[in-house]
């Protein structure tokens, strides 16, 4: 099939306006939120499952690989499409189809924005719990592909805990259903296997998600510490009391400075680190646990403990946390973020390693992260125009990932492996493990036509060249 015939057939399926193949237009579909960049052959924006299925069948027949894209906010290159590949983008499939307030579920299309769903269901006294920092822009389809997290996943679990069932289009265009209306499926949990498969198993075209009732009471604490070690001790102390906060976030001195440069989030400029802790639940329960949290913080050397007095103050504290990575632009023009996870008890150890690596490589590293679940985000700040600095940053990142693995942790808490971290997979998996994973993928996509070249190492990892457009790094965590 000639390329022009292929494009004509795509146009026949979705309409002329929604097949993008002009090179100048494709310039805006070659990136996502990560460091990688590649221009697809064409982009198609389907409007419904039937169109997705026909597009996939057409591509399958033509031997063309397909990569899905939600909002293009991913941080591991998941939506980056190879030059001969077709990108299938979902901004048009953005309808909330159904909200069931009795069973507490919502049926949504994959292009629905995370925050839009949450705002919508709040009218009915419910919420969608996973809240990645990019929630204002990221789509639920993308959240499923990457098994996205967020501060409140400490108490409620990542995306996989909130997806009940999915309609999925496979690589050859076949439409199948994974999971179902019931909370527990019998047989293999194929739904569970699909979530986090980074677009290599299939493309979800409608998604049944679980909603939670909005909590009766919410309380947000700002624990102010003289240094990061005491803040780490406090994290362990809070958990040691048997408390599971809804969120438990750490922000170090450098990040406080960056945030306060852009907006007054209410973080004290002279603190060594702050902890942002949120409790949710019944009124009495929150009251009771508040005392424990306060004791845990004071006992571990907090200089001060503040409680947000109203929604506006709570909002302000969270805006600081959720925009921290953007604010790093005020310190250095470039940054590169590592998404490693360690057991909570190893946090202090890991942060010492971060500081040692920072010193040895001469690279500034800021830390803003999900302390409660040990998901670090050491963020290297640098100016990529300085010769050699990009290579140093990457080498430093490699050392940090190695340390995470050595401490019994893993490479990525919530951003996915994609292109960015695929060469590091051998740090945590044997060849046999990865071969087993590939066999699972083969069961869904035997021809490997969906998002190929991601997740598993093949020696082709891309180091961004010192080129202004390609070394801007990950923003949200």
């Amino acid at each position: 099939m000639a390329n022009s015939d292929f494009l004509d057939q795509l146009r026949a399926i979705v309409g002329d306006e929604y097949v993008i193949d002009h090179r100048e237009d494709l310039l805006v579909y070659e990136y996502d939120g990560s460091v990688d960049r590649s221009m697809p052959r064409a982009v198609v924006l389907p409007a419904n499952t039937d169109e997705v299925s026909r597009v996939m069948a057409l591509a399958y027949e033509a031997g063309i690989t397909v990569v899905g894209r939600g909002s293009g906010t991913g941080l591991s290159g998941g939506a980056i499409t190879p030059p001969d590949g077709l990108q299938v983008a979902f901004p048009r499939m953005n309808q909330i189809l159904e909200v069931d307030s009795v069973n507490r579920t919502a049926l949504v299309e994959p292009g629905v924005i995370n925050l839009d769903l949450d705002n919508y269901v709040r009218k009915f006294g419910m919420r969608y719990a996973p809240d990645p920092s990019s929630q204002r822009a990221c789509s639920l389809g993308g959240n499923i592909a990457e098994n996205a997290g967020g501060p409140h996943c400490l108490a409620y679990g990542a995306t996989t805990n909130h997806v009940i069932g999915m309609e999925v289009v496979l690589e050859d265009g076949e439409v199948v259903y994974l999971g179902g209306q019931a909370r527990e499926a019998t047989g293999y949990d194929l739904r569970g296997a699909f979530v986090g498969s980074e677009g290599t198993f299939g493309i979800a075209t409608s998604i049944l998600v679980r909603l939670l009732p909005t909590p009766e009471s919410v309380r947000t604490f700002l624990g102010i510490f003289p240094d990061i070690d005491s803040a780490c001790t406090a994290v362990s102390a809070v958990i040691g009391y048997g408390i599971v906060p809804a969120a438990l976030e750490m922000i170090d001195a450098l990040s406080i400075k960056a945030v306060q440069n852009v907006t007054d989030a209410g973080y004290p400029n002279d603190a060594g680190a702050v902890l942002l802790i949120e409790l949710e639940g019944l009124h009495e329960e929150v009251e009771e646990v508040t005392r424990d949290v306060e004791s845990a913080l004071w006992d571990t050397g907090a200089a001060d403990v503040r409680i947000a007095e109203d929604d506006a103050e709570r909002e302000r504290l969270w805006v600081g946390r959720k925009t921290a990575f953007g604010a790093f632009g005020t310190i250095a023009p470039n940054y590169y973020l590592v998404d490693g996870v360690v057991p909570r008890t190893q946090l202090t150890q890991m942060l010492r390693k971060v500081s040692e690596v920072s010193e040895r490589y001469g690279i500034t590293i800021a830390n803003v992260f999900h302390a409660g679940d040990g998901n670090l985000h050491p963020c290297m700040l640098f100016d990529a125009r300085e010769p050699g600095v990009m290579e140093s940053a990457m080498a430093a990142a490699a050392e940090l990932m190695q340390e995470c693995a050595a401490l019994g942790g893993t490479l990525s808490g919530e951003h996915g492996i994609g292109l960015e971290k695929k060469e590091f997979m051998p740090l945590v998996y044997e060849d046999e493990d990865m071969a087993a994973m590939q066999r699972v993928r083969e069961a869904f996509a035997p021809q490997n036509r969906l998002n190929p070249g991601k997740i598993f190492p093949d020696g082709s990892y891309y180091r961004p060249s010192p080129h202004p457009a390609s070394h801007t790094a990950a923003l949200y965590a």
Partner: protein, 467 residues
């Protein structure tokens, strides 16, 4: 298999290298070649690398952008438009009609700027890009024609503007318009002219004029302020301008409206006509400096936004850099000024339901959303009801409604729908363009809801006070 789309694809397939090779690529070398050779941006007003690369393409701007929300296309998003600027800057592509069409669909509402966590100065980038497009003679024919007609021939000249305004008023009020519209004669006009006729701003019954006398403060004196008269606002919204003077007086201000002031230049700047925009800025700086006022007040959000950026606009001008920066620092939107003063609340009840429409250049460019609400809430009896998407552009955007008819009307319909759903009697606004756009939208929808400037509502409440 499908044949390769581009020979370059073939050669990049085989690149790569191990993790230690340093420069391997996931799919071979990403497409770095030129699409058509471009020299990049040129000249002193070119978008800077520092501004461009502050954008880390995170995508958080997408959901704030009216054209992205409407089209769902990345090419019509802030992130996409900046990516295209970067591509030009890097010499990967020249300024083509296609790129220009994406940039020109931008409303310059700056909603993206307000939500950007990296602080990308999008408004500045887009103005500079439009200047590059203009200098490259790559503007769309529609924008180019309008530029000739209005930006240079009319806006900088107070007397020509007035004359045009009077002619339009005569045309509209004499019955000639009604007659012509009914006769179908307008259909004989070229499409662009016909569309301009349909979009012609409705002139007010009484124009507002700057005057050499001072309108003196009532009661205790609190400040001496200069009021920007502007270009179209005194002709379309003379009532709002007179209300502005009265509420300032009522709140203890001596109000000066220098006669040698002129249009603020915002429309020229938005269209990339920086040269004439700068001349207009200098004229106003001179006029208000001579008037010796503490603050320069404007009742037009679009003007205030540009005036607050005069310092940046003229920072390379040795004669004006300092005075421009001082002028910018002393500029206030009238709602901002009154709320900070703080205003003296009206004493009598004004029992109406009002919904606030946030003008983009107030909410996004100046980050002012609370001040107008504070004023409205200070009015006894007034019930403030919020509409959905109150800060999503209404599609007016200066000349935009004349050039991008389709998008402008889609956004107008969306805004009017949201306003009607709020169930108010009055839409409050703070910008002449929005007021005209909303007014027209309401009439098209057959609604009798009215559109008023915030100060007109405040003034009406003051008028009800017993003497």
């Amino acid at each position: 298999m499908v044949e390769s789309v581009d020979p370059r694809v073939e050669e990049v397939q085989h690149a790569g290298g191990g993790i230690d090779a340093g420069h391997g690529f996931p799919y071979g070398v990403p497409f770095e070649g030129s699409l058509n050779d471009g020299p990049g941006f040129v000249g002193p007003d070119a978008p800077t690398e520092a501004d461009l690369y502050r954008c880390v393409h995170c995508g958080l701007c997408l959901s704030a952008c009216p054209t992205y929300v409407e089209t769902r296309l990345e090419t019509e998003s802030p992130r996409g438009r900046i990516a295209l600027m970067k591509a030009v800057h890097e010499g990967r592509v020249g300024i083509s009609d296609r790129l220009v069409s994406h940039w020109e669909l931008c409303l310059q509402c700056r909603a993206c700027e307000a939500v950007c966590p990296s602080g990308v100065p999008y408004g500045r980038l887009m103005e500079q890009t439009r200047a590059q497009v203009r200098d490259n003679n790559s503007q769309s024919p529609e924008l180019s024609r309008l530029s000739q007609l209005f930006l240079r021939a009319a806006l900088p000249h107070n007397n020509r503007l007035r004359l045009a305004g009077r002619l339009m008023r005569l045309y509209q009020k004499s019955g000639a318009q009604r007659l012509l519209r009914r006769s179908g004669a307008l259909k004989a006009l070229p499409v662009a002219l016909g569309s301009m006729e349909a979009q012609m701003p409705v002139m007010g019954d009484r124009f507002f004029s700057p005057r050499s006398t001072v309108s003196t403060a009532h009661g205790e004196w609190r400040a001496t302020v200069g009021l920007l008269s502007g270009c179209v606002m005194p002709m379309m919204h003379g009532d709002a301008m007179r209300a502005a003077v009265r509420v300032l007086q009522r709140n203890g201000c001596d109000v000066v409206t220098p006669t040698d002031q002129g249009c603020c230049g915002a429309l020229n700047l938005h269209a990339g006509d920086l040269e004439v925009g700068r001349q207009m800025a200098r004229r106003n700086i001179d006029a208000f400096r001579a008037a010796g006022v503490e603050f320069v007040i404007t009742a037009s959000a679009g003007c205030g936004s540009s005036m607050k950026e005069y310092g940046e606009l003229l920072h390379d001008d040795p004669d004006y850099a300092a005075s421009a920066s001082e002028f910018a620092d002393n500029t206030r939107d009238i709602t901002e000024f009154l709320a900070d003063l703080p205003l003296d609340p009206p004493q009598s009840e004004f029992n109406r339901r009002v919904t606030m429409q946030d003008p983009c250049h107030l909410a996004h460019a100046q980050r002012i959303t609370e001040a107008p609400r504070k004023i409205l809430r200070s009015i006894p009896g007034l019930q403030l009801v919020e509409m959905a998407e109150s800060a999503l552009c209404c599609g007016s955007a200066g000349f935009y409604s004349l050039i991008q008819r389709d998008m402008s009307q889609r956004l107008q319909g969306r805004k009017v729908g949201n306003a009607l759903a709020a169930g108010a009697d009055i839409i409050a606004s703070a910008n002449p363009g929005c007021m005209a756009q909303l007014d027209q939208g309401l009439r098209n929808a057959g609604s009798d809801m009215s559109v008023k400037h915030v100060v007109e509502i405040l003034d009406a409440a003051y008028q009800l006070e017993s003497p």
